[in-house]
């Protein structure tokens, strides 16, 4: 007997022992609360993933929160332009550690076909991204796959401290 993913030893007396970080990781990965940062059509696709035909709650991530204080997974779904960039960064900063980011769709990952003065060419220039999902927009299966990939990543991560952004915000190239 045991919970999948956690090494558990069960004693005759009914006491189970495990490691704290293993237990925390297990809880963390199975109860990701997503914050949808939806700016375009990808956000509509995300609604499909949350609803019953695809049902993101099978992976424990159905509790969509619209406050960064209450969520630990930011799903950036849509085009991020230079004007909304500081807002995205600010909301990311307001989330509590540990926090994860999924970049959903071509626009968030690389600017997509908006290769122009208005669109940021990939949100990883502002905030760290854990999983990138390609597609325009991605299929719901791809979003669920990204969630599973993130869970695997959480499973393997060492005891983590606060992360640092890859690039100082507000600097031009």
């Amino acid at each position: 007997m045991g919970v999948k993913g956690i090494p558990i030893s069960k004693h005759e007396s009914g006491v189970i022992t495990t490691r704290t970080d293993e237990l925390l990781r297990w809880g963390r990965k199975n109860s990701l609360w997503p914050l949808p940062f939806g700016t375009a059509c990808c956000a509509i696709e995300f609604m499909g993933v949350v609803s019953s035909p695809f049902d993101i709650s099978r992976f424990g991530a159905e509790l969509v929160r619209f406050s960064p204080r209450q969520s630990d997974l930011m799903i950036v779904a849509g085009t991020i332009n230079y004007k909304i960039g500081p807002v995205l960064k600010r909301i990311y900063d307001q989330m509590c550690e540990p926090k994860y980011v999924i970049s959903m769709g071509a626009c968030a990952c690389s600017g997509g076909f908006y290769d122009n003065y208005a669109a940021i060419q990939g949100i990883d220039q502002i905030i760290p991204v854990d999983v990138f999902i390609p597609g325009c927009p991605p299929r719901p299966d791809a979003i669920l796959n990204a969630l599973v990939k993130l869970q695997e990543k959480i499973d393997q991560e060492p005891q983590r401290g606060p992360r640092h952004i890859t690039r100082e915000h507000g600097k031009t190239e």
């Binding site: 230079y82 004007k83 909304i84 500081p86 807002v87 122009n116 003065y117 208005a118 915000h169 507000g170």
Partner: protein
């Protein structure tokens, strides 16, 4: 069409030399108006029943070999008479002032802000001629043909969306 011709004839009578050119674009009449007359012509057109200003657009004719580099295009529509009319105003590069139409149509407010943001026209008399699409720290005007189209500019603050937090 007869209604529209009557309106145009009246404009021609009242503002001599205001109409520099008349053209047809997909069945709609396009008038080129002298810049000094544009506001008076717009006033009279509104009185003649053009109650809706659909849009104000800008044109940068940098490499088209025209006399003036810029052009402002007004798209008018009359709801009561089902008439469409387009006005073009040539604007030289070294003097980009022209009168605002915000006193005539409320919709001119955002349309003129967009034209200012993208091309740099100065609409005199506009209540708040600030950028509307690009952020406040943007330098230059993005739809000018000599602006490098892929040159992004970083914004450092959220003042565009929360003016109350501007001094934070």
């Amino acid at each position: 069409m007869e209604k529209l011709n009557n309106i145009i004839d009246k404009i021609k009578e009242k503002h001599v030399d205001a109409i520099e050119d008349t053209a047809d674009s997909f069945g709609d009449v396009v008038l080129t108006i002298a810049r000094k007359n544009i506001h008076d012509v717009l006033v009279d057109l509104k009185d003649a029943g053009f109650d809706l200003l659909l849009d104000i657009a800008g044109v940068d004719a940098l490499n088209l070999g025209r006399k003036e580099r810029f052009e402002v295009v007004y798209n008018l529509y009359s709801l009561s008479q089902d008439l469409r009319l387009r006005l073009r105003v040539n604007v030289p590069e070294d003097d980009m002032n022209l009168p605002s139409a915000t006193d005539l149509w409320e919709s001119a407010n955002w349309a003129e802000r967009e034209a200012y943001d993208m091309f740099g026209f100065n609409f005199e008399g506009h209540p708040n001629l600030a950028r509307i699409l690009c952020h406040r720290e943007f330098v230059g005007h993005a739809l000018r043909k000599d602006y490098p189209v892929m040159k992004g500019q970083w914004a450092t603050g959220t003042a565009d969306l929360r003016p109350d937090l501007e001094n934070e």
